[in-house]
Symmetry: C2
Subunit: 372 residues, 2 copies
Amino acid sequence: MDYEEPQFFRVMQYAARADRDVVDMVSGNPDWDPPEGLRDGLRDYAEADAGDYQYPPSVGLAGLRDAIAARRGVDRNRVLVTNGAGEANHLAMTGGLHYFDGTEVLLTDPVYPYYAGRANFLGADRSFVPVAEDNRLRPADVRAAASEETAVIVVNSPNNPTGAVYDADAMAEFAAIAEENEALLVSDEVYDHFDFSGRFASALDADSPNVVATNSFSKTMAITGFRVGYAVFPPEDGPTGELLERARTQHMLTNVTGSRPAQYAVLRALKTTPPDYYAACRRRLERRVDAFCDALAEAGAAYNRPEGGFYVLARFPDFPGTFENVYELIDEAGVAGMPGEAFGESRSDWIRFALVTPRVDEAAARLAAYFE
Amino acid sequence: MDYEEPQFFRVMQYAARADRDVVDMVSGNPDWDPPEGLRDGLRDYAEADAGDYQYPPSVGLAGLRDAIAARRGVDRNRVLVTNGAGEANHLAMTGGLHYFDGTEVLLTDPVYPYYAGRANFLGADRSFVPVAEDNRLRPADVRAAASEETAVIVVNSPNNPTGAVYDADAMAEFAAIAEENEALLVSDEVYDHFDFSGRFASALDADSPNVVATNSFSKTMAITGFRVGYAVFPPEDGPTGELLERARTQHMLTNVTGSRPAQYAVLRALKTTPPDYYAACRRRLERRVDAFCDALAEAGAAYNRPEGGFYVLARFPDFPGTFENVYELIDEAGVAGMPGEAFGESRSDWIRFALVTPRVDEAAARLAAYFE
C-alpha cells in the first residue's frame, strides 16, 4: 500500500527488534503531558450522568464547536468536529473530488504519505509539486501545476516533514489558485501551535469559498489517541455551501459521530488551559530544535531548521535517506528516523527525525559520533 | 437526504417544541447506567501516563481485540475495532461493493434508514425485500431477490425496527445466498445481548467467507456516545481475505484509529462486568415490553412483541404511521414515536416506539387513553 503506517511500522518494528538501545525519532506522538484540564475533564466525565454517555450531536458537542469557532473566528455552523484531523482531511479531499470537475489532487513533494495514500485510495490522479530549496512551496510552482484537471490542492503548514511555515501571502495565493482552477484548497494546520517563526497564517484568513482548513488537538494537547479534530468548511450559504452539507452527510454515514469522552475532555481543556501551557510546549520544542540542529552541524550534516512543527530533515554526507541507511543508523548509531524516500522524491537524500522524545540530546550525540 | 437523523431530528424537535410534557420514545439511547467497570476504566485512564494518550493501533487496542475475538470465537486478526457499528457497517458495505461484481445492495423493508442512506450515498442500487407478516425476513424471499447484480445483503438481528430475531438456520441460509450470488452478507448484531427469544444466532456461526458480522458496545453497555464497535471479517488467508486488508486500509485512511479513552474504558468493562449486568438489562427491557404490549392490546392496537432489541411497532386503528399522525400523538397524547413510513413501505401503517425510557408505563397509559 501507499500510505504511511506500514512504512512507519517497518521502521519501528526494525528498531524494536534491534539488539541495542534505540532512540525513537520515528513516530509523531508528543512525549509531554496533556493539559491538566484534560485529565480533569476525564475525571468529571467518569462521574457524569448516563445521559451524557449517549450520542453527541453528529457535528460535535455544541460547546466544543463554539470554542473552535471563537478561536478560528468563524460561524459555528461551519465547524464539523471529526475523528481527528485524519477524518477532517478525508472529508475535505473526498468532498473536493466530488464537488469539482477535475480528478486530480495536487500534493507537495515531499508529502505526508497519508495524503498521497488517501488520494490513491480514492482513485484520484496525483500530481506532486516539489518544494523549493528552502523547503517552502512556491505559489508560482503550484500555479504552474494547477489546471482544470485539479480538484483538490493540499497544503500543510507548519509542514510535516519539512518544517516550512506559509505566511498569509502564500496562503492567499494558494486560495486564489484554487479559485482560479475551480478546485478546493485543503489546508492541514495541525501544528499551528508550534510556529517558531511568527509567520504562520491560517488559510481561513484568505476568506475564500474554496478553502477548507483542518486541524486537531492531537499534537496541541499531546493526545493523538483521542481523535478529536475538526474541519472548517466554507459557509453553507455561499457558492460552495454544498461542500459542508455533503461532508456532514458523509461524516454521519461513516462514523455517525465522534467519541464523546474525548470531546468532553478536550472541551474542558480548551476552557481551562492557560496560554502558558502552549507556550511551554513550544519553548520545549525550540530548545530541542536548537540542540539537535547544533549537533547536526557538528556532524557535518545539512539540515533544515524547522520554522514550525517538530520534525527535522537532515542529510548526511554520502548517506541518502533509504530504508537501508535508516536501518544502519538504528543498528550502528542507536537512532531511528524515517527515510526521506518515504515522503517522495525531492527529499530522498534526507532523513526525518521527530523531536518528540526527551532524548534529543542523546540522539544528536550518537549521530555526531557515528558520522564523525 | 435519505438517512435517519434528520427524520429523527424532525420528530425530536417537534416534540421539544410541544406545549406539553412528552415521553420520548424516538431515540435509541439506552436510559440505564453503564457498567461500573466502564466508569472505573475512565477513572484510571484519567491518571494514565501520557504515553497511553497516544495513538492506539489502527485496528484497535490489542486487549480489546483479544476480548472480542474470544467472545466471538474467531482469530484476533479478523477483528477490526471501529468508530461504532456505524463505521463497521460502512466498511463492510463499501468493501462488499468494491470486491464483488454487482452494484446492488439488498435491504429489508422495513429498513434501518442508515443502511438505505449509506447505500444511496455510495451510489449503489438498492433493492428491498419485504419482511413477512410475522416481521421475519424469509430466506426464500431473499433468495428470490438476489442475483448476480447483488454485491451486499444487509441483515440486522435482533432487528430495528421490527424486533425479529433470526435463528441459526436463517443465518446459514442468508450466508449461503450470499455465497451463491457472489455477494457479501453484512450482519449487524448490535442488539445481540437483548435476545428475549433464545434463538439468536450470529452470522459468524455460518462460517462463511462471504460474511462480515458487525457489532458495538453502544447498546450493550449503554454508551452510544463512546463509538466503540467492531467488524469481524472473513479470514485474511481465505478466498475473500482481500476484504479485511482493504477495510483496514480504508479505516486507516478515514479515521487513522478509534478513540483510545473509549476503547480503554470498554476493555475494562468487558473484563470486570459480571453476567448479571447484562441479564438485568435484558430483564428490564422484557418487563417494559410486557407492560407496553399489554397496554397496546388494551388500546386495541396491533403490535409486534419483539423477540429481541428494544423497539415495538404498533398499529392503531385508522391511524397510519405518518409524520402527521406522529405529530398528533405528540400534541394530543404526549408520546413521541417514529413514523413507520420513515422505515419504508411495508410498515408505513405502523409507529415505532423505543422502550429506552423509564416512563414506558406512563406512555402506554397515555396511548391507551388517547385511543380509547
